[in-house]
């Protein structure tokens, strides 16, 4: 697995922290780089309890997001999230495409009159739940998104909190997504979508820390 850029001591955001466009751009860029660097990690996690393509899927999305952002610099937060959402929806496919796509699309809509980071992430988490007909404790990316949304609304987010959320998926029995076909045999493995979501929020921490 990739080295974490910041450890326990690293945290971001004040309560009610506003997300600025420059941070957010940095956030998405760092996320796409982490996806690029960790294709095989994600594929391997998905090989254990899914169909082995989560890394490849997200890599396709990362490439599309980068290309879209290179083509046109987004005017505001809403535009940035919309571009990200469309690239994910149109290029990722599989389960993660519509899930990340819906999360960012809903965040794009919300960002039109809301810039509070914690609230935006909660909107994204809700989008995933709606699209995936799922909730926490089903061993999906929601088990990273929801704790992160909670942590952000309670105070600054730490890499440790992200990691804790990610690690919590290991002990869960999957009841949604492909891993659910394995029933009890899904226990003992990290959920791949939670790992990519951990990269997303690690990137957020880095982007805000570098400000």
């Amino acid at each position: 697995m990739a080295e974490r850029a910041c450890k326990n001591d690293c945290m971001v955001g004040e309560k009610k922290m506003k997300l600025e466009l420059t941070n957010a751009e940095q956030w998405i860029k760092l996320f796409t780089s982490k996806l690029d660097e960790n294709v095989s990690t994600l594929n391997e996690l998905d090989t254990a309890i899914g169909d082995g393509d989560h890394g490849t899927n997200m890599e396709r999305g990362a490439k599309a997001v980068k290309e879209a952002l290179d083509k046109q610099t987004p005017a505001d937060l809403s535009a940035l999230f919309k571009t990200t959402a469309f690239a994910m929806i149109q290029k990722v496919g599989g389960a993660s495409g519509p899930l990340y796509g819906t999360a960012f699309l809903d965040m794009s809509k919300a960002a039109k009159d809301e810039a509070d980071l914690a609230k935006l992430v909660q909107v994204g988490a809700d989008g995933i739940k709606r699209r995936g007909q799922s909730d926490v404790k089903m061993k999906t990316m929601i088990d990273v998104w929801q704790p992160v949304a909670d942590d952000l609304s309670a105070g600054p987010l730490t890499a440790d909190q992200v990691d804790q959320a990610l690690q919590s998926t290991k002990g869960m029995v999957a009841t949604k997504g492909r891993a659910s076909y394995l029933e009890e045999k899904s226990v003992g493995h990290l959920d791949p979508g939670s790992q990519s979501s951990a990269y997303l929020f690690d990137s957020l921490i880095e982007a805000l820390g570098e400000k």
């Binding site: 082995g52 393509d53 699209r131 492909r178």
Partner: protein, 330 residues
Amino acid sequence: MKKIINEVENIVPEMISGLVRVNHELVKQIPNTTAVVRNDDDFADSQQVGIVSGGGSGHEPLHAGFVGDGMLSAAVAGEIFTSPTPDQIYEAIKAVDHGQGVLLIVKNYSGDVMNFDMAKEMAEADDIKVKSIVVDDDISVENSEFTQGKRGVAGTVLVEKIIGAAARAGKSLDELEQLGKTVIENTKTIGIALHAATVPAVGHPGFELKDDEIEFGIGIHNERGYSIEKISKSKQLAADLVNKITKDFAKKDGKFAVLVNGMGATPLMEQFIFANDVLDQLKKQNIEVGFSKVGNMVTSLDMQGLSLTIMKVDDDWIKWLKEPVKTIAW
């Protein structure tokens, strides 16, 4: 991994290009998509409900091989083992709607269900009537309303055949939706693997089986099954699978359809031997077979293995299963 391919990321577009160029009298490609649509005049002039299916690639000839008169109107191919994206499905829906609406045949995977749902929402915004049915015939997975439920596997092709023929016969969108749901409820499949598939981007088989092992209950994306056993004779395998499936049917009267489906790397020779044993088993159980078929229909790349599908059918369904079609692979 030895495969006859070029760059891994071009596998799907190049495959679709080859398929369309070789079969240009039957199908055409929607520009800038990997969606394949019927190319015949009969369809252009028809008033039938459009039938669209699709899903991840790696299951060829499913779905593009079943586009044509009497089966699918269009098929959308995603990346290998990955649902296609909503924009592509949306293009296919638009291309086949003749004002009578469009039925989507979706295999029950979260990715497919979500992407087809998003496409449906997009098409509905264009005032196209869209319904969808979700195939979940793989009884090796426990069903539960709290989970994703059973997977959609080889039975899909029988659903596509019946729905395709019924749509050609002029059934309405609502009738087809209802028919599809009933057909799916009566369709049960179990698969076995002798050797896992190698996803090109991964480069090695999805799991390992010993030289004398066989896995029961695998899915078509290398999903692990419910047990690993020493390989036995075809007769024994047939008895095991037939028993497991027929136990799942409440009633054994009436007629049944049977599909023996090769997973990609298992020769027809073995499929026919296994089918022979399946028919023997069904005869023993006094189960009447009204339709049967053998072949590589819903594959899993280069997986070695096969699946058995049994469907409780009524006489109309048998007629629809038997009707001639003009497709690449039925």
